[in-house]
Amino acid sequence: MNKATTSTVTAALAAATLAAILTACNANPPRATACSLPEGTDLDRAISAARFDLTTGCEQQFDQYFQRLLTIAEGDPKKDNKAAFSEFLIWANEEGLLSKRQARELYTRYFGVKYVSLISDYSVCAQTCPRRDEVMREMNKELVNKEQGLLKVSADRREYYRANRLFQETELVLEATCEACGPVE
């Protein structure tokens, strides 16, 4: 009798423990808990893995995931990669991970010719000239991002050349224009 009671209690405890473990697993899927950045060389797979993680608790690490995807894409540079990142960022916007403006700026920062560092609402004399050095430093950093996105990821030398040329032209025109605007008040 005692033996039978003990067996019953043991079985009940085991069932309860198993149920508790299963419940915990459902609440916190192992991948999301780990937030492990994608590995390997296949960009499509890496993007799929990133999408899963970013919708299951890892959204705070969006920047790290994005950087990892860029690094993976560098292993197989091709122009199609640009479209893959575009789709990924559109998806991120649809999922609410990024605003539309953030998605656009991030895409343009890495894969566009134009510089988001130059976004401004007021005139060159009023807004840009007083902080020209800072603007140029930001553009310089952005050019490094474009080197990664356009050259290393997308193998798009032509567009990178245009971005580089735009940097130089902007630097020249801003130098002359700011000189013409006069001293900063």
Partner: protein
Amino acid sequence: MKTLTIHDWKYRLKLVSRLVTACLLVTPAAVQASPQAPTIQLFPTTVLEEIKHTGDVAAQMETGLQTVIGRLDEQQKLYVESKCEGNEGDPGCERIARQMGKSYLEMLTIMGDRLPEMETAVNNTSASLRKRLRSELGQKKTSWTLQEMLVDAQSDNADKAGRPALRGRSGMRLSDRFHQYYRLVARSGGEVNSSLAVIASDIYLDMQETSGLIARTRDEISRATLMEQLNQSFGTITPEMQEVVAGVKSILFGEDEALMPMTAPPASQPEPVDESPLNL
């Protein structure tokens, strides 16, 4: 602070190169006067007239300098062929040295005579360009719309061979760069605002620099003339004098300096349009 003297040949080269290249601005002025008015008015008639006048003055100065430099070249050749280097006490060598000194003085005189007019022309052009840059680019544009204008012109001018290299970054001689400016503007028919913005910026910054060089040269020219007159009495050729002549020659006659064009674009291929809706 280092005192700048007229014997500083690099300094002289910069000045002369700007004077020479200014001549090439004349024709673009005529081209830009076409009825197709650009959206931004960086080169209205008044500015074009000033640039043309500056070009005329520079051309006159160039012609005068070219003649005397040619003579100096001949005298230098004779000096070397006569093995005068290290043999300065020889009466024949002294005579050649004095002749070279006279030619050098003549060069200084030409520069001294022409510089005031040149200075006025450069300063007027510079002031006009400053006004246009401030109103058309500085006040009417944001940095974003300025960039959009530059990008649009890149697209419009897919043939990059005719584009100007940029100031101070290409290693290209100024005269070559202005030749490129000319070709670009001559082809444009007034439809390349952003290229005009680049050209206007380039000219303006060059004019600013030239203006400073002229002012300093004028300050130094009388002292340099006095020094050379003293040298005349001893019949010596200073190393600085020889360097100046060699340097000016390289600018006027296109000797020595190698062209280092800006990084060329990759081989042109038909490119798919970037269709991402995210691209700004």
